[in-house]
Amino acid sequence: MKNPFENLDKILEHRTRLQIMSVLATTESYDFNSLKEILQTTDGNLATHLKALEKEKYIAIHKSFIDRKPNTRYKATEKGKTSLKKHFDALDELIKQQRK
């Protein structure tokens, strides 16, 4: 029997990162403060997870200025979206196997 755990994405096994990817995959792009509000987390925590996702090229970062204030927007990459889908498929598989 195939082991469904192999297909789980190590990066996305962390809950906050899974949340970030889910939000970004379903919207065009998001800024830092809005993400912080949705996930109800701290600056440092969110920044760490965003950095981890960026390192894997799951998300892309666009920096710009609005009224001279820095504005950073995050966007899911194709790689990130595919990985998220695979991760959800693996979770699905896992649930099915446990039901048997």
Partner: protein
């Protein structure tokens, strides 16, 4: 080893994040009720202006192609619109504070943008119709565009708004079939439907 309860927690967290990210949760049901109430008041004013003491489907004393009547009607419509918007913003702002959400966030910006495109183009189109003297299709045009705007924005709102959008479109089409009865259809669409929808949303989400 990942336990099944952990998977469930993961999925619950994703669902919560998606709910908070996509939907404008601050919309207050009572703003729908009040908007409907203002619309009914406005329609009553229009009725007294145009038909009183006859029934709204019967003989009229005035027609809207008379300039002073037209101006009074447009003024009344704008008053209803402004009152509804102010009430809606105020109630939503308060609800956002209660839910400790920012009122002006990513979702509300998206929502406003999606609503504004059909509404502004529809509003301008209707004004052009009125200026050119096509009074008969001005009333259905606004109902239609409003319904389309609601459908366009429904992904950012409660799912019930979709039904409201379809109903407004249906009313708009019926209204176009029976020109001259715009007042009745507007009372139904902007008044009665808003009150019904507001009560529904208020009971379901404002707890």
């Amino acid at each position: 080893m990942k336990e099944i309860s952990e998977v469930e927690k993961d999925l619950a967290a994703v669902r919560q994040a998606l709910d908070r990210s996509g939907k404008f949760l601050s919309l207050h049901g009572l703003s729908g009720v009040l908007a409907g109430f203002y619309a009914i008041l406005g329609a009553s004013y229009a009725y007294f202006l145009l038909y009183f003491p006859n029934s709204p489907i019967g003989f009229r004393f005035y027609f809207i192609n008379e300039r002073h009547v037209l101006i009074q009607l447009i003024g009344c419509a704008f008053a209803v619109l402004t009152l509804s918007l102010v009430t809606g913003f105020w109630l939503s702002y308060r609800k956002a504070q209660r839910l400790s959400l920012t009122f002006w966030n990513e979702t509300s910006k998206q929502l406003l943008f999606k609503l504004a495109i059909p509404l502004v183009s529809g509003g301008l189109f209707t004004l052009i119709l009125v200026l050119r003297g096509y009074y008969g299709i001005a009333a259905p045009a606004l109902l239609l565009f409003y319904g389309l705007a609601l459908l366009n924005a429904s992904s950012n709102l409660y799912k019930e708004i979709q039904l409201l959008g379809f109903c407004q479109i249906a009313l708009g089409l019926l209204c176009a079939l029976w020109p001259g009865y715009g007042l009745i259809f507007w009372t139904l669409g902007f008044g009665v439907l808003h009150v019904l929808y507001g009560v529904l949303v208020h009971r379901k989400y404002d707890a």
